[in-house]
Amino acid sequence: MQKNFKAERCPWEQEISGYILGETSSSSIEKHLEECFFCQEQLIEFQELVKNIRAMPEENLSRDLAPGLRKKIASTAKKQKVSSALMLNKRRILMMVVFFCVIFYFLFFEKKAQETLFLGPVSEKISFDEVIEKSLYWLAKNQEPDGSWSAERWGGKKGYTIGVTGLALLSLIKKNVEHEKNIKHAWDYLLEQQRRDGLFGPENSAFLYNHGIATTALLESYSIYPTETIKRSVDKALQYISSIQNPEGWWGDSSNISLSVWQVYALCRAYILGWKNAEKSIQRSLLWLASMAKRHDFWGNVDASIATGAFLFSLPEKRYSILEKDNKIKHTLQALLYQPNHKIEYYHYYFLTHAICNVFQNKSNDYIHFLQKKLLEKQVQAGVYRGTWEPAGISGNIGGRVYSTAMATLSLQNLHSSYFFKK
């Protein structure tokens, strides 16, 4: 029976019932009815059916419900009065219980959480120190005899060794006591690479990355080891940065924010550490960044631009610029963080962690936990590469394993310091 029915189906069939009940406009369906035999038949059948349903006998109530309802309403009102008094007491007790639970939680559990920060999946809890130790151990072990970390040897491109060395130095500098020897060896290499005009290494396609990262790494070193040798090197490096800055505020290519980001970062760190003459360059670069944000609706859609732009925009040193706080940057960061099919790109992660920790200060730790989890999932747990992160994304292919390991370590260090800062 059903099979036959399906064979005769007409696209208008659903309109028939509506037509009978006065729900469908009559002109169009009537026109169709003239032509369609199936719908004509259906109309007759349904009309009869509707007529019969409407003709079904009505039943009468055995009693008037109003008096009974009056009584029920009156008794419910009485009960409500009593129960509301009881509920008030219950609520008070509940509130007290909740209050004591909260106090108990803060007294015991939070204290424990501060002692050991657990990262990654709950099933395999690993302490933060363990994670960092493993990666720094690998980096220290694989430093070249000249003090560098080779980009090429670990899957990266030749011209980027200075930048990669700077990143490895940046990761090690926070654990300076354990890795002092490696740190000093890395300085020797970097200082040897500096030219008379202040530039680190040759003027190749990677020179802006190399120079900016090396300058930042030496500035961080200077904050811990304020030696005259490092100071002189940094002086020259900063002078070089200022000399090649475009009058509009950018470096190299105005469409590539990531080229400028390291120069601005180095200048900002320098300013904090006492190089006050960096202020004009910083102001110019941040003004350019603000104009970029305005022109491209917050740095367009390229992840790298957004992450690095957001990082620069969120720098605590931005008080030197005319930029004002804007809620839009928060939305931009949230969108970048929680985008579907999130790809691992350590370059973004490094800047994102910085930006998120700067922008969402004193807010929930959700973002921090999210990024921690993402980063920890990817650390190699066994074998020759134990403690490293696999090179991923475009930057991973350029910088290689040293780069990805250093960037992931730095991101975790950012998150960790921010976690304890909040606590």
Binding site: M1, I16, S17, G18, L21, R54, G68, L69
Partner: protein, 181 residues
């Protein structure tokens, strides 16, 4: 005051102000149709009275939440539908074993017993709950598709397709019954 002459919205406004006589008037006006609504969707006579009473009790409880933005009947039948859904949940096991058929397919439904009641009412009872309520509201209670969509919180197109589906199924059940006899 002759409460029975006032419109539903005016009566509800009076109920909100605390006039119980206005509430009585609403009960008198709608108890019959509500009772028949429950009867037609397959509830027994005794239980239909209880459910009707429950609808009015809820109406009184939610009187302050009523805003005359839509038709009063939409509000009333929304409550009635909630009461019915609650009733079905409470009596799920009992209903499936007795008054409503358990069969999944139409073929099985056709052979369901029609012994005591009219064929049409039995065919209606055989329909799945989501189709039955639409047929009763639309054909019997004469509510508009839009009102039904608002009451059941479903799109208008779904009301239309369910209505068609329900009529088709009733027709087939009745045809099968005729063929059997």
């Amino acid at each position: 005051m002759d409460w029975e002459c006032l419109s539903d919205i005016d009566l509800m406004t009076k109920v909100q102000q605390g006039h119980l006589c206005a509430f009585d008037a609403i009960v008198h006006k709608h108890q019959h149709s509500l009772f028949n609504f429950f009867r037609k969707i397959g509830v027994s006579s005794l239980e239909a009275e209880d459910l009707t009473q429950e609808v009015f009790l809820r109406l009184f409880s939610y009187r302050k939440e009523y805003k005359p933005l839509a038709k009063f009947t939409t509000f009333l039948y929304t409550l009635a539908h909630h009461v019915w859904v609650d009733y079905l949940r409470k009596n799920k096991s009992r209903i499936s074993a007795t008054s409503l058929p358990e069969m999944d397919t139409l073929q099985e439904a056709i052979f369901f017993s029609y012994s005591d009641k009219s064929d049409l009412q039995e065919a209606l009872n055989t329909l799945p709950e989501h189709l039955r309520s639409i047929v009763v509201m639309s054909i019997y209670q004469r509510l508009k598709y839009q009102e039904i969509a608002d009451i059941l919180k479903i799109p208008l197109g779904t009301v239309k397709s369910r209505m068609f589906c329900a009529l088709r199924q009733i027709k087939e059940i009745c045809n099968a019954k005729e063929f059997q006899s």
